[in-house]
């Protein structure tokens, strides 16, 4: 455990003593200023749930990508050769991303409370927090796959394709709160794609994104079923499978890392 803690400490210190770390914090502050604090008339619960949850889900993905790429350097040789297995290194990256996102999300949320039209009851946070956390974990694991660090052969192409497919699913499910299925099909029509012809693809994409949309529904505190209540857990399960895949590709990879 102390070895993992030291690796996390090494990666996180290196990140936040660099300009990149400053940019990461600045990005979160900019989001807070633009999307929350500058909204006239205040914000309501659903707005905060969607915007903060969605933003930090995506931010975790970007940060997962960024941190993995930063560690994909020959300066990591000294760390990697000391570890009993490479999965510990990936676990450290994942922890860095999750901790960073959760801390930033917490700060943004606390500052957002001042702009709420009506306070969110304490009990509601037990629905919101798991949904947000599962999104951060999921985003972080997807982000690691987008980096050069775990690329093995064509794996990164597959990761980008899966991400694109996921975004289509998000679009069709309207999890951003604004888009309806009708709007999505109109968007497809504009690209000269007949939505009926790709109906089965859309069905799969929607099914894959269901845990994300269900998690948001739970966080909005709408009426939800037992299965929808388990959506955050399902998302974390999916994230563990994605992480396992990253471990498998990274484990087999020849590490001839680029110079700093």
């Amino acid at each position: 455990m102390s070895r993992l803690r030291a690796t996390v400490s090494l990666i996180i210190t290196d990140l936040f003593r660099s300009l990149t770390g400053g940019i990461v914090v600045a990005g979160a502050i900019a989001f807070l200023l633009v999307a929350i604090l500058s909204v006239t008339g205040g914000v309501d619960r659903n707005y905060v749930v969607h915007l903060v949850g969605g933003f930090f889900g995506l931010y975790a993905m970007l940060l997962g990508w960024l941190v993995s790429d930063r560690t994909n350097r020959s300066s990591s040789y000294q760390i990697l050769v000391r570890m009993p297995n490479r999965s510990m290194f990936l676990a450290a990256i994942l922890i860095v991303v999750i901790v960073t996102c959760v801390v930033l999300e917490l700060v943004v949320t606390v500052l957002s409370l001042t702009r709420l039209n009506e306070p969110i009851p304490l009990g509601a946070w037990f629905e919101i927090a798991p949904a947000w956390f599962s999104l951060v974990v999921f985003g972080a694991t997807v982000g690691i796959h987008l980096s050069e660090l775990v690329r093995y052969g064509w794996s990164r192409i597959a990761a980008y394709a899966a991400l694109g497919f996921l975004l289509v699913g998000v679009n069709l499910n309207g999890v951003d709160g604004g888009r309806s299925l009708g709007a999505s099909t109109r968007w497809l029509s504009r690209l000269s794609i007949n939505p009926d012809r790709i109906g089965w693809i859309a069905g799969i994409a929607k099914a894959l994104v269901w845990p994300i949309s269900a998690s948001f529904r739970v966080a909005r505190s709408e009426a939800y079923s037992l299965w929808e209540g388990l959506a955050p857990a399902l998302l974390i399960f999916a994230a563990s499978l994605i992480f396992l895949l990253a471990v498998m590709t990274f484990d087999k990879k020849d590490l001839v890392l680029p110079e700093d």
């Binding site: 803690r5 030291a6 210190t13 300066s75 000294q78 050769v81 590490l255």
Partner: protein, 298 residues
């Protein structure tokens, strides 16, 4: 201690190692020399698990990663740490207990001469300082096996001598050392064993005295060496080399020497100078990589 059997490794179409065999005895300082691209760094990276072999096996089962120290070819460090801070973190990653950590870091810093600048940030550090830091992190916790890729690169003569002393001291304390270098002078001074690599093969390997035979050569300088005489001498079986008016012969081969001198006497050629020369590692190396020596693997 380490048994490398029929190791092969390809990077795309390039065969970095080709059915290479090597046994590294415990307690030895084993030098790997060879031209750029010979496969030295690849072999070392295989041993520390950074790359995986396509075929063959490496038996270092008696060791765990904590017992192997590694100095990469071009060491890089996260520049925003101080030297001691970085070594402490690496020590913890290696599994050194908190009780031992301070002592281990201090010892590594003392041995590599970095103690006085331990609180300096690595950013802007000289090549020599970073190379010493690379050694400091490799020798932390006194590993049983030290794998060093170009440890003398970028060091000034004083630091090179200090590095040699550190290696000899570690070896005396029980560490087995495998090092790759282009600096033949350092090899002759510190290594007990040597392997010459070329194009993924080992051309020569063994104890230093086996790889660099203790034999000397005799150089005969003549007043004039006519072509017909040179042809007659060339026809004599043996390792005879010509350089202008000079003939270079192995000192130990009495029959060959007598035969050559007989030809010279018959032709009435005067020997103006006769000298004995000890074969250097450089000559052995150049002869080996230019195809003068038969590849041992084949």
């Amino acid at each position: 201690m380490i048994n490398i059997v029929d190791i092969s490794k390809r990077f795309g179409h390039i065969a970095a190692l080709n059915k290479l065999n090597l046994q590294i005895p415990a307690g030895s300082i084993y030098g790997l020399i060879g031209p750029n691209g010979a496969g030295k760094s690849t072999l070392l990276r295989l041993l520390v698990g950074l790359v995986a072999q396509d075929a063959g096996s490496i038996d270092i089962s008696c060791l765990i990663p904590d017992e192997i120290g590694y100095l990469p070819e071009r060491p890089r460090f996260p520049t925003r740490f101080t030297i001691s801070e970085y070594l402490r973190l690496l020590g913890t990653v290696s599994g050194i207990s908190d009780i031992d950590l301070g002592r281990q870091v201090r010892e590594s810093l003392d041995m590599t001469g970095l103690a006085s600048i331990a609180h300096r940030r690595m950013q802007g550090g000289s090549k020599g300082m970073l190379q010493r830091l690379a050694l400091a992190q490799a020798i932390m916790d006194r590993p049983e096996l030290l794998i060093l890729d170009e440890p003398f690169a970028g060091l000034d003569p004083g630091a090179q001598a200090a590095m040699r002393d550190v290696l000899l001291q570690l070896n005396r304390n029980g560490s087995t050392i495998l090092l790759s270098t282009h600096r033949l002078a350092d090899v002759t001074q510190v290594c007990t064993h040597l392997a010459i690599l070329s194009r993924g093969h080992i051309i020569r390997k063994g104890l230093m005295e086996e790889v660099i035979p203790g034999s000397t050569r005799v150089i005969l300088t003549l007043d004039n060496l006519a072509t017909d005489v040179q042809d007659q001498i060339s026809a004599i079986p043996g390792d005879i080399r010509f350089d202008g008016n000079s003939i270079d012969l192995p000192d130990g081969d009495l029959t060959l020497k007598n035969a050559v001198i007989q030809v010279l006497i018959s032709a009435g050629i005067d020997v103006t100078r006769l000298e004995r020369k000890r074969v250097s590692l450089e000559e052995t190396y150049i002869a080996a990589i230019s195809g003068g020596l038969v590849e041992e693997e084949e």
